[in-house]
């Protein structure tokens, strides 16, 4: 009885990131740390920015003015972990994508995926990536892979899962100590941890006194393409008006020379 009560206890969290675009200076440490943490393989020589695997991808965007008035902003974009009408969950033909009720993380299970890429067509953030190549590391470098994350195979889709392996480790640690819930200090994402400017913050958006939820409520916080109604759990904030306009969907197109070339 006790046991079942124990394991049955419901813990609902809504983990999300809040990214301060005014702090981000585009160093890319988040992308690198992410790749190291999640065993994302390096690029084949043939790979380009259209076929690469970047769970955390930093877009460079400009305000469209020209020198010296041109200003640059960096958008670190991972899976936005939509909470509602999640585009990818509903389209996957074989339940390889779902939302973890305990964390609100949108999962992508490479072992179940058949590589139809419908979810990629569905995702407005292009946060899902397809393994066009077999995963390969230089000889010996497989010794540096993270044992808590399985290496994906060619022909499947993969994406950010808020370093879910770290969540699992933290849960296990808590359980070993007989605790149901993990200690927030034990769980943060690689990108948040690596950011030199502390621009990325992970936290439970429902937990009123988590730093993340407070930041997410700040007046200058916004979510990408919010109007699509997918309720993403990744928030961005910036005091610069043009940046917010760039991130939100209901303003006229701003030419973006940046991500060209």
């Amino acid at each position: 009885m006790k046991s079942s009560a124990n394991s049955g206890a419901i813990i609902k969290r809504r983990f999300g990131l809040v990214i301060d675009l005014d702090r981000c200076n585009g160093c890319g440490a988040c992308a690198t740390a992410c790749a190291v943490e999640n065993n994302v393989p390096p690029a084949f020589p043939e790979v380009n920015e259209r076929t690469g695997l970047t769970w955390m991808r930093v877009y460079r965007a400009e305000n469209g003015r020209t020198f010296p008035d041109s200003r640059t902003v960096y958008f670190p974009i991972s899976c936005q972990h939509c909470g509602h009408d999640t585009p990818c969950v509903s389209v996957c033909p074989q339940n390889a994508v779902d939302i973890n009720p305990q964390t609100g993380v949108v999962s992508q299970i490479p072992e179940r995926c058949l590589g139809c890429r419908y979810c990629m067509a569905a995702c407005p953030y292009h946060a899902r990536y397809f393994n066009w190549f077999d995963p390969t590391w230089p000889a010996g470098m497989e010794k540096t892979l993270n044992p808590d994350v399985s290496v994906r195979m060619r022909g499947v889709v993969e994406k950010c899962n808020l370093c879910h392996s770290r969540w699992q480790v933290a849960k296990a640690k808590a359980a070993a100590a007989g605790k149901q819930d993990l200690d927030p200090a034990d769980y943060t994402t690689a990108c948040a941890e690596a950011c030199p400017a502390k621009a990325i913050v992970l936290g439970d958006l429902d937990d009123r006194n988590s730093e993340a939820s407070r930041a997410a409520k700040s007046p200058n916080a916004f979510r990408l393409l919010a109007k699509l109604g997918t309720d993403p759990k990744i928030y961005y904030r910036s005091n610069r008006e043009w940046v917010r306009r760039l991130g939100d969907a209901d303003v006229a197109q701003i030419e973006s020379e940046a991500s060209r070339g």
């Binding site: 702090r23 200076n25 585009g26 160093c27 890319g28 440490a29 992308a31 690198t32 740390a33 992410c34 190291v36 994302v40 390096p42 690029a43 020589p45 790979v47 380009n48 920015e49 076929t51 690469g52 695997l53 970047t54 991808r57 930093v58 877009y59 460079r60 400009e62 469209g64 020209t66 020198f67 010296p68 041109s70 200003r71 640059t72 960096y74 077999d134 995963p135 390969t136 230089p138 000889a139 470098m141 497989e142 010794k143 540096t144 892979l145 993270n146 044992p147 994350v149 290496v151 195979m153 941890e193 690596a194 030199p196 400017a197 502390k198 020379e257 940046a258 991500s259 060209r260 070339g261």
Partner: protein, 717 residues
């Protein structure tokens, strides 16, 4: 009859089909095959084993950040910054990949050039030593001089080199060209300080006037950047002078996009306003021996004139000067760029001279003289440490490159022209067949980060000398050679006896640590718990070593004083500055080369000869950073010259041409071409792509050895 048998066969088949369907085989087979696709033998399997956490420090760039390694079965699988210490850059985060980099050398090699591609053939270490010894002999016999190109001066191995060179003709240790903080040498000469070296005190500066110092791209210790980025930026203001809309410019309070090459004029212009408006402590400034001449010289460079030359509005210049004066102490930097190198003597003198009239010498928030780290051993005679431009051209017969602890990006020609015409030998100590080492005739594989003990002497921007140690976590690969023992071997082979009882690098480091312990000054800062305790409290040298190995840093007690014999505002560049101050207009662009080529790179792309292959995430798998194959123009300029984004083109200067892809961005100064110097294909681990000429090789090199800008043109293919 045939019909009958056929019919029977049919029935047999039918029976078999039904039978199989009724057995688990087809279904299990389908399942097993599906699972097989999850466990393909060619998918790498992560290691299994005990999870441990170990502390060390990053030796890949001079900052020496503290590192916490997560190890599986003793081998690091991820690196991160320990709580409370500065975060790691992309290079540091992937440092544990470098021992497995495809460019990693596992045996000494001889480099030969065939069909415009470099090839390596393994040789025995003995051969390298004898050939080096032979070259030394030849040098002694008058063929030329012997020099060591040290990419990380200040390490105790430098003393080993210096004692090796001391007896040799023209023997000198050359600090890597264009390295961070090199410009301080100029300031040191202007101050003619007797002992120790200058250190920067950012902590107390209220204004940072950065002439091109790429603080946000890794310049100086990350602490500075964090202070600038931190929400509590509060009392420190950043004024950034840079033709590039760089990340540093993005975070600057004021950005002055001076035309490339006119920084000196801008500096003089600022000086003019500061003096004219009495914003400086004249009395302090007047201490300088050449103050009269200086003030006369700057008096010529009015704000208007400076504006005409630099392209920055006169009132902006005036406003800047006032801002500086308002928020003192204001430290002025002539920042080197990891890809663009130094400004050159004249410009550095003009820029750094501002510090003197602002009275920053020996002031908190300015420049402090700090005692050097103790030498690892005493030696009767030591070869000097010099800058490259102090070497006469075509003089060096034997050049030893010590790239064992890191590398830097510079045009090889700046070194090449110091070598004798032919018969000169270049021997490199480097873990990788990449970077500077590619220009050597012989390469000895040194251990790389995490494979051996590295010492991390103070960054130039620390107010006091500090020492950290990067402890090895991985067993050194077979076939490597320890730099110190290589020095010993060479010395032995050419019958030079070296002072001190040391065989390997560790011995040198331990010896130095022991000396520090004997000095007894300063304190030990532990990373694990952030506790700081006086060195006196550390009982034995071994205890100190242990602490440092565990990630602690020793920090000398600060001594905020600069004993300078005489201050010179014009240093040894008076002549050049005279000329600069007199020319009244912007530098002309030749019609043949209408563009100004600005090679740049962030530190994490150049501090090591190679980067982890996963750094492709930043360069090739996304366009966050532009690869060395991409030349970026202002759209307007592109339109003028009828160049289209995305097209292949050849980027040409007087020195040569390379193939690039054109990109456009509004953030680029009209008339300029921005291009990254690193990382190339090899640095990223792609050994198959044939090595083309690299961008730095076509950069023009000015008289003071700088290569920040060159006249160039783009021709669409």
């Amino acid at each position: 009859m045939t019909n009958v048998t056929r019919r029977n066969l049919l029935k047999l088949a039918g029976g078999a089909a039904i039978g199989f369907m009724a057995s688990p085989m087809p279904w299990r087979l389908t399942d097993e095959l599906a699972i097989w696709t999850q466990n393909w033998s060619w998918i790498p399997v992560p290691p299994k084993g005990e999870v441990t956490t170990r502390m060390t420090a990053c030796s890949l760039c001079p900052s020496g950040c503290a590192v916490q390694a997560r190890c599986i079965g003793g081998l690091p699988v991820s690196l991160r910054a320990p709580a409370g210490s500065a975060a790691l850059c992309s290079l540091g985060l992937t440092g544990h990949h470098l021992p497995y980099h495809p460019a990693r050398l596992l045996a000494p090699v001889r480099v030969t050039e065939r069909a415009d591609a470099l090839h390596t053939n393994p040789v025995r270490l003995g051969e390298v030593v004898t050939e080096t010894a032979a070259a030394i002999a030849a040098a002694k016999a008058g063929l030329g001089t012997v020099a060591v190109l040290d990419m990380r001066p200040g390490r105790s191995i430098s003393w080993a080199w210096r004692s090796l060179l001391s007896g040799l003709p023209g023997g000198a240790v050359i600090a890597g060209p264009g390295r961070e903080g090199a410009s301080l040498a100029t300031l040191e000469r202007m101050l003619a300080i007797e002992s120790g070296s200058l250190g920067l005190d950012f902590e107390h500066a209220r204004t940072i006037v950065s002439f091109g110092a790429p603080l946000a791209d890794g310049w100086g210790s990350p602490r500075t950047l964090q202070r600038l980025l931190g929400g509590s930026r509060g009392n420190v203001r950043l004024i950034h002078v840079d033709p590039l809309r760089s990340p540093t410019a993005e975070i600057a309070d004021r950005w002055l996009p001076a035309r490339p090459g006119t920084e000196a004029v801008l500096a003089l212009g600022l000086a003019h306003v500061l003096i004219a408006e009495n914003l400086v402590d004249r009395a302090a400034a007047a201490k300088a021996v050449d103050f009269e001449r200086y003030s006369l010289l700057v008096s010529r460079v009015t704000a208007e004139k400076a504006a005409a030359v630099t392209g920055i509005a006169a009132d902006a210049i005036i406003a800047t000067a006032r801002e500086i004066a308002r928020a003192m102490p204001a430290v002025v930097l002539a920042g080197e760029d990891a890809g663009g190198g130094r400004f050159g003597r004249a410009a550095e003198t003009a820029i750094l001279g501002l510090n003197l009239i602002l009275g920053n010498a020996g002031k908190g928030g300015g420049f402090l003289a700090r005692p050097d780290l103790p030498a690892p051993f005493d030696s009767a005679s030591l070869a000097p440490v010099q800058d490259l431009d102090q070497l006469p051209d075509r003089s060096v017969a034997l050049l030893l490159i010590d790239a064992s602890a890191g590398d830097a990006a510079f045009p090889w020609r700046v070194v090449e022209r110091k070598l004798i015409a032919k018969g000169g030998l270049v021997v490199a100590l480097s873990p990788f067949f990449a970077g500077t080492a590619r220009h050597a005739n012989l390469i000895v594989p040194a251990p790389t980060f995490l494979e051996a003990m590295f010492e991390l002497p103070a960054g130039f921007d620390a107010p006091a000398a500090t020492l950290g140690i990067s402890a090895p976590l991985i067993a050194a690969r077979e076939g490597g050679a320890d730099p110190a023992s290589f020095v010993r071997a060479v010395a032995a082979a050419s019958r030079i006896d070296l002072p001190g009882a040391w065989a390997r690098s560790e011995d040198l480091i331990k010896a130095r640590v022991a000396r520090i312990h004997r000095v007894g000054r300063g304190s030990v800062m532990s990373i694990a718990d952030g506790a700081e305790k006086p060195l006196a409290a550390v009982a034995t040298p071994d205890a100190l070593l242990e602490a440092l190995m565990g990630g602690a840093k020793w920090e000398d007690a600060p001594s905020p004083s600069v004993q300078s014999m005489k201050t010179m505002l014009l240093g040894d560049a008076a002549g050049e500055l005279e000329r600069i101050s007199t020319c009244a207009t912007a530098p002309k662009q030749s019609p043949q080369y209408p563009l100004t080529l600005l090679p740049r790179a962030p530190r994490d792309a150049t501090a090591s000869a190679v980067v982890s292959p996963v750094i492709t995430k930043l360069y090739r798998e996304s366009v966050l950073r532009r690869s060395p194959e991409t030349a970026v123009l202002n759209p307007a300029t592109a339109r003028e010259l009828r160049l289209r984004a995305g097209r292949k083109a050849s980027l040409e200067t007087a020195a040569g041409a390379i193939g690039v892809t054109i990109a456009t961005s509004g953030s680029v100064m009209p008339g300029a071409v921005e291009i990254a110097v690193s990382p190339g294909a090899i640095a990223l681990g792609d050994m198959h792509t044939a090595v083309k000429m690299e961008i730095l090789e076509i950069c023009a090199i000015d008289e003071s050895g700088g290569w920040r800008q060159s006249a160039a043109r783009l021709v669409e293919a």
